[in-house]
Subunit: 477 residues, 2 copies
Amino acid sequence: MDADALISCGAMTLQFVAEYWRSIEKRPVVANVQPGYLRELLPIEAPEKAESFSSIINDLESTIMPGVTHWHSPNFYAYFPTAVSYPAICADILSGGIACIGFSWIASPACTELEAIVMDWLAKAMGLPEFFLSTGNGGGIIQGTASEATIVALLAARSRIFNEKKAKDPTLTLGRLLDQLVVYCSDQAHSSVDKAALIVGCRLRKIVSDSDCVMHGEQVEAAIAEDRAQGLIPFFLVGTLGTTPTCAFDDLVTVGRVCEKEHIWMHIDAAYAGNAFICPEYQHLLNGIEYAESFDFNPHKWMLVNFDCSAMYLKDRTHFIDAFNVDPLYLKHSFQSSAPDYRHWQIPLGRRFRSLKLWFVFRAFGLDGLRSYIRKHIQLGEHFTKLINKDERFEVVFPAATQLGLICFRLKNTPNELNERLLKALNDDKRIYLVPSMVKQKFILRFAICSWLTEEKHIEFAWNVIDQVATKLLLSK
Amino acid sequence: MDADALISCGAMTLQFVAEYWRSIEKRPVVANVQPGYLRELLPIEAPEKAESFSSIINDLESTIMPGVTHWHSPNFYAYFPTAVSYPAICADILSGGIACIGFSWIASPACTELEAIVMDWLAKAMGLPEFFLSTGNGGGIIQGTASEATIVALLAARSRIFNEKKAKDPTLTLGRLLDQLVVYCSDQAHSSVDKAALIVGCRLRKIVSDSDCVMHGEQVEAAIAEDRAQGLIPFFLVGTLGTTPTCAFDDLVTVGRVCEKEHIWMHIDAAYAGNAFICPEYQHLLNGIEYAESFDFNPHKWMLVNFDCSAMYLKDRTHFIDAFNVDPLYLKHSFQSSAPDYRHWQIPLGRRFRSLKLWFVFRAFGLDGLRSYIRKHIQLGEHFTKLINKDERFEVVFPAATQLGLICFRLKNTPNELNERLLKALNDDKRIYLVPSMVKQKFILRFAICSWLTEEKHIEFAWNVIDQVATKLLLSK
């Protein structure tokens, strides 16, 4: 715990990052290396002797940076954004410096308490139902990722249905139940739902979404009826607010009513779009959330909180504690009844002081500043939409997507193959970076506003690149 | 991405942490607050307007710090250590500053490549079998925690046995298999094994360890024979190197032979003790690892790498990819066959650039420096053992524990109840912090060397506190 070294080496590192941020626009957005590039540059064994810190920092530019894909380049439009901000990085310095492991209240009370408080702040800012506040039976927890939140919700739902069924049939085994359980989600849901079902070992039924990629209650209800007729047991559904391919919003009102009627646990995955709900004008998209048992979104995507920080809310925390409670003596303490022990709400035992990141970001930007950030990205998306719409060769597809900073487009009236070639030509060109999606048999290009640095001029640059590359491609056709 | 704010606010935060480290010894080791203390100090809603960064930093001492239990106080002897070091914190600054999400090779090649390289460095430094190196069929991955590593190994083993059984009986369902599967571990294994079995839904059979808390092959073999006779299917065993209650080492040679003969996946959890294997004099404790399919330990405990960094090794990565592979178009890329995509080796999708922490720590300390750190803690443990042994009122119990910096002790020939009172009196005294364990019906006090700052004088201080508190307790008896 060398305080002097922390200050001097920390300052060197901050300087490196600051220079990186200042130069990021000039760097090729996607790493231009081949697999194995780094092994040729580094020794094959760890050094025996200590090296100077400056020699480590000096190696970064020649070894690590060529292999970095710059998620915060204003020319990066792939996947969804991941957040970065100076207050979040500072909060991580503090979390690293305090270095407590908050698996129980007593292991570091501030760690648990700040998390409950800032998660309540966040819920209020988003207009979430009161039952998600920690002051009632529910509460918020910071998970690592939306994937983990889905698994945790699925396990709690499995625990609930098992307890209910077992009460009626004491001979019931978990395996026998598992073979009957069915999880539902839209055919547009994220692959993490597939992975969660694979991990827990449940069958997953994907509901066909409508032509706008929206899942409705009617199709859910029909699927449930079919499955019940087969002797299966529907028990869990993931509704998505803002799907990954096109940022579509499931019709939670009709889906939620079906879930309520059919006693199905509805978990909502709003990983990306959830961030927009801090703006009142988007809170109507939450309609139907009153039917949810659990809700999750990622401030680490679009709310300036560095990864990892996935905000999960539970309506009734007892289901979670039932699912995860293992309590050896070395973890017991005398405050267990009066304070949440988050270890029972998550898969790992250990946990960092991640709530500091949310606290720092809320205070350093204010809700005002966070809303401006969200709105700016949405406006940049609208600007791109206008540019695409002006050109007759292109069409914006699944226009629901355009409202929240993701634009899906393609060459109008052309086969998928040509659009695949366009994407490949764009990524070979290397000036901007996009990833595709395949939706309703259409190969589409996804254009997600990602970087803090992105301004209108970058959108126009990106559009010019797309225009040029498409023109060349169409000429050579 | 305000580079100037990063430098100035980062410097303020580093300064705060440096002052914290300098003053840590003077702070009460355990937070002296009641549940709910922080809610009284903070506003009930997030601020609308941005606040100055200095006002945030200025609030830390009055709001957060009273609720911190100081894991790095030299008077903290509870649980196991958690690591902290300036190079790891600097690496986290860099990881936060680059802020790439390395879920696939192309998403940031350096992130995947550095991880494979430093995990190979680590395996070589520890003398792990060659099959764990990434240059063969195996490889290392950084998981968040040992809990996650156990679950990941368990899921891969479930996938392997299911594929094998299904090949012989195509009507087999996962649920039917699950009802027959049995996981084994010692009765001394960590609660995370219980949690993993609970999550996956397998029955868990705990093998009674010997009087030194060691699990042997003979007892495993007998349990397996009994279970097979009942029609059950043994398939997975967790061997522990360095148990949490007493740092006992399972007899991996005999256990491993049984696992090999019985076709059982042996996973090794060496969460704490594994760190010592970078010292050649402790590598003999790895005997039997040649039978393991997977191995995990936590550099974030005792190797100066801040949480989270759990080092997991796999013998054959195909089992993992089978268990976790879901591959939507937006995550596909053209290098998939030539580089590992770690997303298939873990539960979450997203991942931070955590390998930077290992790389920085290896280089800033050298293997030499890391070994000295481990050895110093072990020597401090030996010193404490001597002090305990000199006093006839006390006994060191389960002496295997003393070899690696954890000392278990109690009042000699006294009932558990008196030892419980001693622990309570020590923790009420508040000068040092310990947690207990219940082992073989004995209530014991665990004394774990935890802090970078701990020196012989602190051990002597702790011993004096124990002496005084015990004397007072015994007088009042």
